[in-house]
Every structure is written in C-alpha cells, then in structure tokens.
Amino acid sequence: MGERESELYIHIPFCVRKCKYCDFLSAPADAQVQNAYMEALLEEVRESADDIGVPALRENGRGTWENAVRPGQDKVTSIYIGGGTPSVVDPVWMEKLMACIREHYRVAEQAEITIEVNPGTVTRESLMRYRHVGINRLSIGCQSTDDKELARIGRIHTFAQFRDTYRWARETGFTNVNVDLMNALPGQIMADVERNLERILGLDPGPEHLSVYSLIVEEGTPFYRMWENGEFEAKGMELPDEEQERAMYWRTAELLRSYGYAHYEISNFAKPGYESRHNSGYWQRRDYLGFGLGAASLYENTRFSNTGNLHEYLSYWGNRRAEAAWARGAAKTEKAASERVAPGSEETAGYRSDRRNERTEEQDIERIRVQMEALSVQDAMEETMFLGLRMAEGVSAAAFRERFGCGPETVYGEELRESIQEGLLERKESAAGGENGKGISEGDVRYVLTKRGVDVSNYVMAKFLRDT
C-alpha cells in the first residue's frame, strides 16, 4: 500500500473560564474530570489506530483489522491540539498523549505539531515540556493588545501576560508561532484594530503566522444576550456594523501584507513557508481524524464527529478501557484455564467474551461516532469548491479534473460564469510548472474569490451546492 498522508486533531474541551463570545465546546472543569477525560482520550487514540470505530467503514472493509489501509499505516503529517485551552491541562498529559500517538501512529519527521495555549495558563517550564515532546508550533490566543478590550470580552489575561508567553515561546525554541487576534469587538474603532496589529507586528521577531477573526455574536453566548438586550449600545460599546467590520478586515489584510505576510486564507496570514499545514488540510480535504469530545473527522470520504456529550464520551471510552484491561487479564486466565480443562471449551469461552465485547460496542459506538455521512461524488465536488475557495490559491481546475475526471466548468459552468459576471470570482491562468511544480505540470486555471467575493463568500459558496 502506498503511503497516505493524514492529520490528527485532538480536542481539549477545558478552559479556565468561558470568554463572553465563545460558543465552542469548552468549559471549566476540575482536575479529576480533566484526568478522566485525558485517560479516555488516550484510550480513543489507542483504539482508533486499529479500528476507527465507523461501522460503515468496517463494512466496506476499510476500517477493520484485516484490511491494509488503516490509520496506523498512514503517515501523520500534522497534529493539532486545540480547544478550549489545551494548556490548562497538566503538561504531563501532553507528554503521555504524544507518546501514545507516536506509539500507535507513524508521525512524519517533519510533521507540524501545534498546541493552542492561552496566556495565563502556561509557564516557561510547561512550554519547555511541550517542546521536548516534539510540539513545534505554538498558537497563542491574544485577541487584543488592550487590557480594557481583553476584560470586556472576558479574557482571563492581560497583554503583559501575552508578552511573557510570547517571550517564553521564543526562549524555549518555538520558531513557528501563531497569534490569534479578533476584530470588530464591542466599541472597537479602526484605530484600535491598527494599534493591536502594530503592537503584534512590533514583537521581535514577529509571529510567523496570524489568525485574525471578526467577532461573531453567536447564539447562546453571554454576548448574544447582551446584544439582544441592547447592552452594548447602552454602555456606548456598540458592535461595529458590517461596513466598519469590512473596513477593519481589509485594513488588516493591507497592513499585514505590507509586513510581508501572505493572505493565504480568508482569515489567515503567514510569512512565506509558514502557512498552517493543518488548516490547509481541511480546505484541501486531506484525511484527518479528530479525537476527543465533539471532534470531527474525514476519513475515506466519510465524515463523522464524536459525541459532544461529555458523560457519554467518558463512559464509553472509560468502559472500553476497563474492558481492554479485563480482556488482557481474561486472556491470561482463559489461557491458563484451557491448559487445564478439556479441549473444546476454550472455543466456547473465547466466543462468549467476544460476543460480550461486540454487543456493547455495536450499541455504543453509534452514540459516540455521530453525524456519520458517507460523501457522494457530488458531495465531494461541492466541498472541493466551497472549501477551496477559502484559500487565496482558490480551486485548481486541473486538480479538480484529476480528482473527478472532469473539469469544474463541466459541473459548475453556469455558477462559475454567473459569479465571474457578478465580479465575485476571478479566473486565473497560471503558467506551466507552477511554483512548487507539484502535481500539475501543464498550465492550470484557478478560480479565486475577488475581494468583493471574499466579502460575500457564503453567497458564492452556496451556489456550488446542488439542489437536493
């Protein structure tokens, strides 16, 4: 079997305190819960190496022991430990996690291994320990450089704490650092955005990568309630309107470009060669396995997610762990027993224990692996379009043709024409060879969002979904 590349995502659903805008699967938890979770997580990582736990894949002979293609034989080229705030968990767990991954998966030597951290939850020592287990990329949640702004959105740290974290990161040898910033915060004006960017760009050395997101007031967050109740206006902290938000977005892009960052994805900027491999994988539809609460996966053209219910997650993997321990113990006893008892009974005993495992697993796995969806060719084409368009390089007609046997013009002729006419999409012809020459040898055509297209990207992307 040829070598395939895949990525791992590890979700740590814990944080010190929920930020006011946060609708992620994350919450504060005590050490006991964290430990139980990490044990369960390790079990999931271990077991999934042999069996992904997706019945559909098993039936297709793509997820079972016997078959050749299994995660353990893929080459893992990226690992991303996200959250929540992974750094709230005792660093010893990251050591165990990385050891476990390396034991069960073939991690490429050059793999990009990222951990998300937040100022106030790391020390020089913990960063050092991350470095020692091979984590080579740090993503620091800064969000703002103004303490008042930070407090307003419910962050637990100050800008000074961020600067410490950043300095320690450099001191402990992280040479690939991302900084998260947020735009369009309540009461924010353009000058605030520029100040935030300039302070970050003024760091020496500046970060290799920047993610700049605009605040979205999501339902179910404290900000949503405040917005509904008109509290932002009442406090003179109005949310920037769409016009202002767009101005901030493009000002950000302009500033960062002038500092040598490529705007390679809608919200992401990188110094040459520092584009996040992990996130690009999502847009390029590389296989990835997500471990942990609520984590999403794409494997063998099947998408699925883990349950978002912590109790279910813990009890399932907790049980599996106990069963695995039991099976190891039982195997020994049975072996010993079969040596003593008459031949024939060994089969019976083995059968019974297998049955027991099978039943519990079949029932529970459906609860753990949820939203399972085998993608059709149609689905894959749609994804190729709407994910590809997120990237500055856009959708490559040649790559599309290679993957599906026909060009995007054949499938989406009208949509492409219409979008180009509306000034939302651009057709770019690139010369033969390409910069890295990878895959595409002849002259290629790429479809790329225009600036206006970026502003209304959902509108454009929705066109490529076929009526159901």
Binding site: L298, R303, V454, V456, S457, N458, T468
Partner: protein
C-alpha cells in the same frame, strides 16, 4: 344496538341535540364523555376526541366540519333512548353552518366554564340556539378547577341569558365528574322530535361529505315523512334529483345502514351524487314524486367572504395545486377558486373562503396533505366597484381594480360585532376598534365587571389580525363574535408596491384612503426587513395611483462571510450554506430581486406593535 334494523323507533325515545359553548369551555370533551358513557365505544376505542377526527382540528382545539353521532342510553326510567348528538363548528367563519346544525336539533346543552363564565361566543351561540326554538339547558364545566365559581356562573347565566340554571349539572368533562346527570337531563329537558312520518318528505341537510366510493353522503334531519332506498329525492334549492342508494345513521366514526329514516330521525343518505355543490347545507331534501309544498326556511347560498391568491412555490406544481383544490372542493362547498395569473407569482388561483380561519385550514391542508409549497397573497374581502358607466364589479383581486377615473364609487362589507370584555380593558378595546374604523353602537354591562361592546366594523379591518390584537390588548380576556351586516360606501384606494422600481402585482392591496399613507409606510418597513440584502441596493416604494407615498431601501449586501471553521467541522459549514441555499429556494424572483415567499403575507403583520 341492533334496535334500528328490527324495531321501529318511537319518536318519544329520540333526543336530537347539540352542545354550544365558547371556545375551550369543554364542548368536545363533554361530547366524548357522552359517547363514552352511553357505552357505544369501549375506552380502548376512545381516542382523545372522537368527534374531531381531523388532525388539524385537534391541534387548533376547534371543530371544523359538523358531524353527528348516534348513541343509545338506558335511562333511570328503564327505557332506552336514542341520542343524536350533532356537533357544530365553533368559529364565527362558520356561523351559517352552525345555524343549520342547530336547526337539525330540538335542544341544546349550554356548556359554560365554571371559572370563566359567559363569553362572547357563549352568548352568540345561545341566542342562535334560542332563535331556532331549541330548549337549552346549562351545564357548568371544569368545576374541579381551583378558580371555579359555579354559583357565580349559575347566577350569571340566569341574569344574562335568562334561563333557569339552579339545577345545572356541575361537571368536569375532563375528569368524568357528574356526566350521568347530564345524560338524565338530556332525556328530561330536551323534547322529543315531532313530525309526521307519513307526510311528504322534508329533510334538512346540515352537512355533507364526499366519499370516493359512495359519492356524496348527505347528513340530514328528517322533519317530515320517510326516506328509504329507492326514494327519488330532490334537493329543492339546487334542484338535483337522484335515487337513494342507502340510508343509515352515524355510529361513532362509521356509517351504519338501516331500512329507512323517518320524521324525527337524524341520519345520512347516499344517492350516487358526485358533487357536494348539489347538496348545499341548509337545503331541503324532498321526495321528487311526492314533494312537500315549501322548503324549510333559512337556506342561504354559501358565499365566500375572504379571497386570496394561492400560487405553487414551484411553478411546475400548478397542475398539482389544481388537482388538490379540486379534491378539497369535493368536500367543501364553501371553497371556491378560479385560475388567475400574476406577473410576480405566475399561474395560480384566486380562492374564496368563509373567513380567515377557513383560509388557513385550506392552506395547511394543501401543504400537509398534498405536500404543496404555497405562496399566498394577502387576503382581502369582496369590494363592490360601481363604475361610471353603470357597471358593477365584485372585486376579489386588487390587481383588477379599474382605473380610478372609471370608478364612480366603491363599497365594502361591514360587520356588526359584539365584543365581551372585562371593564378594565374597555378603553384599550375601544381604541382598537377606533383604529380599525369601527363605528361605536353601544355598550351593555353584563354584570359589574364585564361589558358587551357593540361596533360596526369594516370586514377588511378584522380579517387579518383583529382577534390577535383583541387578545393581546385584553390579556386574553376579550371575546368576539360578528355577523355580516351588508355593504357601505367607502373611500378606498389601491396601494401598489414597487420593488426595485417594478410594480409587484401580488403585493397590491385595497385600503381606506385615510390609512393609505400609514399602511404604505409600514408595508415598506416590513418588506425592508423581509427582503434580504442583494449585491445591489433595492428601493421599496409604496404608491397610490402612480404617486409614491413611502420609500425604504434595502442596502446592498456588504458581507456574507463566515470566517471560522470549528476544528475542521466542515459539516457545520456545509449546513450553514445549505440553509442559505434552502432559503433562496423559498424566494420569488421579481425582476432581478429575490423576494421571500412570506413577504407576500407581510401586509397581515402591519399592525404588529413590536
């Protein structure tokens, strides 16, 4: 049970009655209990509400089509009595049907909620029953509620309605308390029917139902004479003549054939009739070979009061919509429709209804039972347009209004309304009626704390949301009933809506000249909220006679972007995009503007206070 087939029933052992009540006072529940206690059904067969067998009815808690059920009751005097319980519709849209059902009865049970007392519909229905010379006896329901005040309600009934109520059974239909007492009073207080079984046939149609196997099943009360298989019957108003195939009575939810139906009995007739239009409610059935001299009084041709345009969301579904309307009409003579074409909405139908509730029911049935996705235009009433050339147009579609220069004057339908309200809300209800161009006629105090307000109101002011407004301004305490009074001259204009400078015919509506500006302004505001931003700016204008009276602008879409993708959760992103796409599907393209389907109903929501 087998009584009917062998033994002639004595008239003196028949009781034909109905139950009248204000909505939610427990009419259907009491009907269920009566059916249950008379033992015709085992509890296992009992669905929650036997009489309301359409899903829709159950959800709305009201009864739409009149139905009947026959049960047998063994009374304390040792005799067996036949009860024919005729269920009546409970909404003002169906007032005429109610009156015909009442005419089929000899008596009525008046159900009054022990906590709420008399309400507007209680009064309207009880007067209607008394007008039909029915003997009415009251029943106080929900006595197990903590807030029940049976004695107060008894006094109220005596004071306000003027009927004896001291020995009214105090019951809980829900919990089956004191139902026996109701059954006994049906025997003692409701008179047996009269009528000569040997006289020429005279039967009242109070409902009919289309059955694909039997044809139309005519529900009737035999007033005089006898009808049996082979009788050549004639509907006196519609003049249809057919030979009877089968007669019978109503088991619970089934038709049970019998030999004959004679004076005093309630039952059904089938005669291979193909269309319910031939068996109009209120018409008289007689023997074609031995006819009676005159029909029963009270027949009225059903007339649609409310009209709207109905269009398939997907133009290709036009034939499906036509077929569905055809099928619904088989069973509903009060529904009428004719094809029409809208520039904005394509091919559809202008449909006429008894009222807004009727409209909503048909709309829901089309959507649910026939899986149609509909675009419905704002409902309107029938206006009489007197043209300068002497011609009279009955206008049901605003787009067909002639040029103002050709119009001499216009008339609109007016209703007499009675609103029952507790005194603290009198002010706000009067204000509401004033806003709706109501003409105050008077007020009567029912008791110290409640009053009956009398108004004349234009029908087009109450068909939309008047009932909701009434409820919200009285914290649910007001109740309401109305009757069509007639037509009156009125200063009416057509309000047109232009979207991106194109007139959208389906959004036009007729409005009183004095409120045109206000309505136009609100309509523009509403549409501004309903119409999503496009890549370009869209002006929305309201115009009367070509003159723009209001304007709003839907600004160009500035952004439509979702930056974040949650830990590779592509499915979530796709769902968002799908939702967006789905939303677009529910839009109508007018020029280069996509208008959401529900925008065509926006005029209904103009009076939302928030």
């Amino acid at each position: 049970m087998a009584l009917e087939n062998q033994v002639k029933i004595e008239q003196s052992k028949i009781r034909n009655f109905c139950i009248v009540a204000h909505i939610d006072h427990g009419k259907s529940t009491l009907a269920d209990r009566i059916i249950e206690k008379t033992g015709l059904l085992t509890s296992r067969e009992m669905q929650a509400q036997v009489l309301d067998n359409m899903d829709l009815e159950r959800e709305r808690g009201i009864t739409i089509k009149a139905q009947a059920v026959r049960t047998v009751y063994k009374a304390q005097d040792g005799e067996e009595y036949i009860f024919n319980l005729i269920d009546t519709p409970g909404h003002v849209d169906f007032n005429y049907e109610v009156s015909r059902s009442l005419a089929a009865c000899d008596g009525a049970i008046l159900v009054v909620d022990a906590a709420q007392g008399i309400e507007a519909q209680t009064l309207a229905n009880v007067y209607l029953a008394l007008d039909h010379d029915l003997d009415v006896f009251p029943v106080i329901n929900k006595i197990d509620l903590p807030s029940a005040e049976p004695q107060r309600v008894i006094e109220e009934i005596e004071d306000v309605i003027g009927i004896e109520a001291q020995d009214a059974p105090l019951i809980s239909a829900k919990n089956g308390i004191n139902i026996e007492e109701v059954l006994e009073q049906i025997v003692t207080k409701i008179p047996a029917p009269k009528g000569d079984p040997n006289a020429p046939l005279k039967a009242l149609i109070f409902d009919s139902l289309y059955d694909s196997y039997k044809g139309v099943i005519v529900f009737c009360r035999i007033m005089e004479g006898t009808v049996k298989k082979g009788t050549r019957i004639r509907m006196m108003a519609t003049k249809a003549v057919e030979e009877v195939v089968e007669v019978g009575y109503f088991g619970a939810g089934q038709f049970i054939p019998c030999e004959e139906l004679s004076a005093g009995m309630v039952g059904y007739i089938t005669a291979s009739i193909k269309n319910v239009k031939d068996t109009a409610v209120g018409d008289t059935v007689t023997d074609n070979d031995n006819p009676c001299d005159e029909p029963l009084p009270g027949y009225k041709k059903v007339q649609s009061m409310v009209y709207c345009g109905m269009y398939p969301a997907d133009g290709a579904k036009y034939p499906d919509l036509r077929d569905a309307l055809e099928k619904l009409q088989l069973n509903d003579a009060s529904l009428n429709y004719e094809p029409e074409t809208s520039i904005a909405l394509g091919f559809g139908f202008r449909c006429g209804f008894l009222g807004l509730l009727h409209l909503e029911i048909i709309q829901e049935r089309l959507e649910r039972e026939y899986n149609l996705d509909l675009v419905t235009t704002a409902p309107g009433v029938i206006y009489k347009v007197h043209k300068t050339n002497g011609e009279l147009i009955e206008l049901t579609n605003p787009s067909n209004l002639p040029d103002p220069s050709e119009i001499e004057y216009m008339e609109e339908p007016i209703v007499s309304a009675e609103i029952m309200v507790t005194s603290e809300f009198i002010g706000s209800i009067m204000e509401l009626c004033q806003e709706r161009r109501g003409r105050y006629l008077g007020m009567e105090y029912i008791e110290g704390t409640r009053a009956l307000l009398k108004y004349e109101l234009p029908l087009n002011e109450i068909i939309y949301d008047f009932f909701d407004a009434l409820k919200s301004r009285s914290r649910g305490y007001a109740s309401f009933d109305y009757d069509i009074k007639g037509y009156e001259e009125s200063k009416l204009v057509k309000l047109d809506i232009l979207i991106n400078r194109e007139e959208v015919d389906a959004l036009s509506f007729i409005v009183h000249a004095d409120s045109a500006y206000e309505r136009g302004r609100r309509m523009c505001e509403k549409l501004k909220d309903e119409i999503p931003r496009h890549l370009f700016e869209i002006p929305i204008q309201a115009a009367v006679g070509g003159k723009i009276i209001a304007r709003e602008t839907v600004k160009a879409m500035r952004k439509d972007v979702l930056a974040k993708c949650y830990g590779g959760d592509i499915s979530r992103k796709k769902k968002l995009l799908e939702k967006q796409k789905e939303g677009k599907k529910r839009m109508r393209q007018v020029g280069n503007v996509e208008i959401p389907q529900k925008a065509f109903m926006s005029v209904l929501k103009l009076d939302d206070k928030n």
